[in-house]
Amino acid sequence: MSAVAEAPVAPPEPSAGPRVRRFEWAHTLWAAAKTLRGAIGLVVTLFVIAVGAIGPFIAPHDPNAFVTLPYAPPNAVAKLGGDSLGRDVYSRVLDGGWQILIMAALATAIGVGLGAAAGVSAAYLPGWRDNIIMRFVDVILAFPQLVFALLLVSVVGPKNWLLVIAVGLSHAPQVARVIRSAALDVSERDFVKAVAITGVPPWKVMNREILPNLVTPLMVETGLRMTYSIVIMAGLSFLGFGLQPPSPNWGSMIKDGQGGLTLNPWAMLAPAIMLAILCIGLNTYTDAVTRSALGVDRAEKFALTEVMSATETGSA
């Protein structure tokens, strides 16, 4: 599916010259954190991660214990009222983040890892291998991401490890596309060709020369994919195919709370708000990182084509 001639913006250019500045990625991250948007995004994200990590330890009640009446409004026992079975919404919200965060992080790692491997290989290895990989990528890209994950999950059932793999797999093609075009850039450079001529095996070239120059696009991709992982995990849980009861997690709590909106809106609002600010914070910070890496206007266009994620930058 080539978008002939329309490559709205190239992915972030790998740094010029044969060597990368050590820890350049860290500099970019820090520079982003110093901007207003970046600072706000980072703070919000860290706050939610903190809630997710520490929450289970400071919850006043066992998140599965029945402490009040079903959908009871906020009262002395339950600060945010009860959920559909009278469990403490506040405690469940505190306990409801870490599973999604960890699973989303794992799925992102898998997705970016697989996608980068596929993208770099497709860019560097000759001819038909490129085609095969990208055709495979196209097939998976023919589904909306949620539908693909849904299909996989419905085959095996909602097991946690499968959720991670399914979501990770659904990321890989899009990462592959972006990394491939970035890697194409790098592999055309003289220093890479110079190394290749000396007979170093391809996988070493890819590992040692190409990959380190892709740190910036990888970083940006990771941030974006993380946002999607969270969104899709929550969406799957909302549909009932994600994490299973009675485990509290924000996605299924939102679904559970929808039935009691007129009785205790907090059952739905509390997890929804946590999910919302996590997504917004992470997205804002990732946007700041992209700007810091690319400059404002290019970052804008990159982000757009990135999230559209169906454009192909210069392949077949």
Binding site: V4, E6, A10, P144, D185, F238, G240
Partner: protein, 336 residues
């Protein structure tokens, strides 16, 4: 002037290609069919692996083993997988979409109304989303870096981050169940009647979808317009003393259109995926909602058909978008 930035030194020099549009169409269509074929295999294989027994789903839990076996034979579920696949595929190509496992009715009868319902949502959301997005994009491009521009930019950043079901639930909360009670909380389209006869039921789902896609269109339009406004071509027009609006509309806009059209096309793709969650939130009887239920009921022909339909739509929209973008920018028909 376009927004193309070719990756440096990556594109080889090519000769001008005659009839580039036709060639593109043919190439992409053939290629799309190949992809669809592979997709169909994937879908079929995946659904065949579904655990759970479709025959049980039909007969309910009072079914005896004899009844089950008879039904399985009747539905052809006991044939080898390859035979079933071929029979399904050839049926599809003849317009026979198979029969729903649940009740033997043909899939096309069951889904025709629901496809229409979803199509209405997608078209309406696409239309309003485009209009609003383009208008906002133009507006903020002119008022670049002013307060309104920054505010909208921040808001849109927030909105794109949110999961769409959260947006949909937000609308539900504010406009239907808790704050205002202006709209019904679920879509009560009477069975058999077309969705436009109940416009109030369409408002919230469409609004949610519009909110999901407007940020992309608006941002793309804004970026493209800014770039166009800064081009030499437009500079020239201004230096010639042409009025500002005229410059905007006649010189900048046409060049900003192409990438925006792509954004719009891609928004339709995003809508196709987004309708699953949003239809579920509002219990709107479209194919997204049906897919969710079909997965729960293991109604395999329905799952297969809807997933294949979405994939086809995806591939088709990709082709359409690229062709339109190509047409809209004459200077880019020739790869440089």
């Amino acid at each position: 002037m376009t927004t193309v930035e070719q990756p440096a030194a990556a594109a080889p020099v090519l000769v001008a290609v005659p009839h580039p549009i036709r060639r593109l169409l043919i190439e992409r269509t053939l290629y799309g069919i190949l992809t669809l074929f592979i997709v169909s295999i994937l879908v079929f294989a995946a659904t065949e692996l579904l655990p759970g027994d479709a025959a049980r789903a039909v007969l309910g839990h009072n079914a005896t083993p004899i009844q089950l076996h008879n039904l399985q034979v009747q539905l052809g579920l006991d044939r080898p997988a390859v035979v079933q696949y071929w029979s399904w595929l050839s049926g599809l190509l003849h317009g026979d979409l198979g029969k729903s496992l649940a009740n033997g009715e043909s899939v096309s009868t069951l889904l025709a109304g629901r496809i229409l319902n979803s199509a209405v949502l997608v078209v309406l959301a696409g239309f309003f989303g485009t209009v609003i997005g383009v208008a906002l994009g133009l507006f903020t491009a002119i008022r670049r870096d002013k307060f309104i521009d920054h505010t909208l930019s921040v808001i849109s950043l927030g909105v794109t981050a949110l999961p769409e079901f959260v947006i949909a639930l937000g609308f539900l909360f504010v406009f239907s169940t808790n704050v205002f009670h202006a709209f019904p909380a679920v879509s009560l389209i009477p069975p058999g009647s077309p969705p436009w006869q109940s416009p109030s039921l369409l408002v919230l789902p469409v609004a949610a979808l519009v909110v999901v896609i407007v940020p992309y269109i608006y941002r793309m339009m804004r970026a493209a317009t800014i770039e166009a406004l800064e081009s030499e071509y437009v500079e020239m027009a201004r230096l010639k003393g042409l009025p500002r609006t005229g410059v905007l509309l006649r010189h900048a806009l046409p060049n900003a259109i192409a990438p925006t059209i792509q954004a719009i096309g891609l928004s339709f793709l995003y809508l196709a995926g987004g309708i699953v969650l949003i239809e579920v939130v509002f219990a709107y009887p479209g194919i997204g909602f049906t897919l969710d239920q079909a997965v729960q009921n293991r109604d395999i022909p329905i799952i297969q058909f809807i997933v294949l339909l979405l994939a086809t739509f995806y591939i088709f929209m990709n082709i359409v978008t690229d062709v339109i973008a190509l047409i809209a920018t004459p200077r880019r028909r020739v790869p440089r």
